[in-house]
């Protein structure tokens, strides 16, 4: 499980990979929150293209980041969900909390 953070023009992208469960969510949450609390990005993109598995701990992770970003008026979008993960995201009704986008090209910071 990994998380890679990219900062660009006040926006932050977290490129997630591997499997997201209660065990791995803790580490991802720590990494994102540490950077986001300093930078206070207007937009946080969670890129799921490399995520093979996610249970409801991932839903909690997304909901928690939405709450955090709201503190300074930022928003969260989730990108590149694989079909098998889409099922749990729609069950949780996350589309009412953040925007869900497809085929977002994540630009590497130069």
């Amino acid at each position: 499980m990994g998380v890679r953070l990219i900062l660009r023009e006040g926006e932050m992208t977290a490129v997630l990979s591997g499997e997201i469960d209660h065990h791995s969510a803790r580490e991802i949450r720590g990494a994102i929150d540490e950077a986001a609390s300093k930078v206070k990005p207007k937009l946080l993109t969670l890129d799921f293209s490399g995520v093979q598995f996610m249970d409801s701990s991932g839903v909690g992770l997304i909901m928690g980041r939405c709450k955090l970003l709201q503190i300074w008026g930022g928003s969260v979008r989730i990108a590149n969900l694989q079909p098998k993960i889409e099922k749990i995201v729609s069950l949780a009704g996350l589309n009412q909390l953040c925007s869900i986008v497809k085929d977002v090209k994540i630009h590497e910071a130069n």
Binding site: D21, H22, M54, S56, S57, G60, L61, K87, I88, L91
Partner: protein, 149 residues
């Protein structure tokens, strides 16, 4: 009906075992030739049940989680996940979507809702102070085998 195959596994409630448990069940379930989607549903449901044992049943302690898995002739897989933890006072309330007693951690409160919607049948029994048992099953759809010869 007698199972055509069965297995059991037990392990301590460390969170590192969440991925182990779902991989073990998925690997055993592969004998029923499930689709990728069906396998993903089973893995997710197992992960939810095991996480409940770790986060709730054995909160602030380590206990043993017991899993028994049975496969049946008609393609059904039955999984029982049991703990000897704190138990659930009010099962009906615990199964309500978005209900969670865990405030320190970010829990969506969707564990039982996911198990219910990703599996065909879910049964929960619990005794406060003695533990909880979650039994869930799913029938793997037979795919028409295309014979090339």
């Amino acid at each position: 009906m007698k199972p055509i195959n069965e297995m059991s596994v037990s392990f301590p409630s460390c969170s590192a075992n969440e991925s182990f448990s779902r991989a073990a069940i998925a690997s055993f379930a592969a004998q029923l030739d499930p689709t990728i989607d069906e396998l993903s549903d089973i893995k997710t449901a197992v992960s939810e049940a095991v996480t409940n044992c770790i986060v709730h049943a054995y909160r602030n302690t380590i206990g043993i989680i017991y899993i028994t898995c049975k496969l049946y002739e008609n393609g059904r897989i039955s999984i029982r996940i049991r703990d000897k933890g704190c138990g659930i006072e009010d099962i009906e309330q615990a199964m309500q979507p978005l209900f969670s007693t865990s405030e320190d951690e970010e829990r969506a409160g969707l564990g039982f809702a996911v198990m219910e919607s990703f599996m065909d049948v879910l049964r929960v029994t619990s005794k406060p102070g003695q533990g909880t048992s979650v039994t869930m099953s799913k029938t793997i759809q037979r795919r028409r085998t295309e014979k090339n010869h």
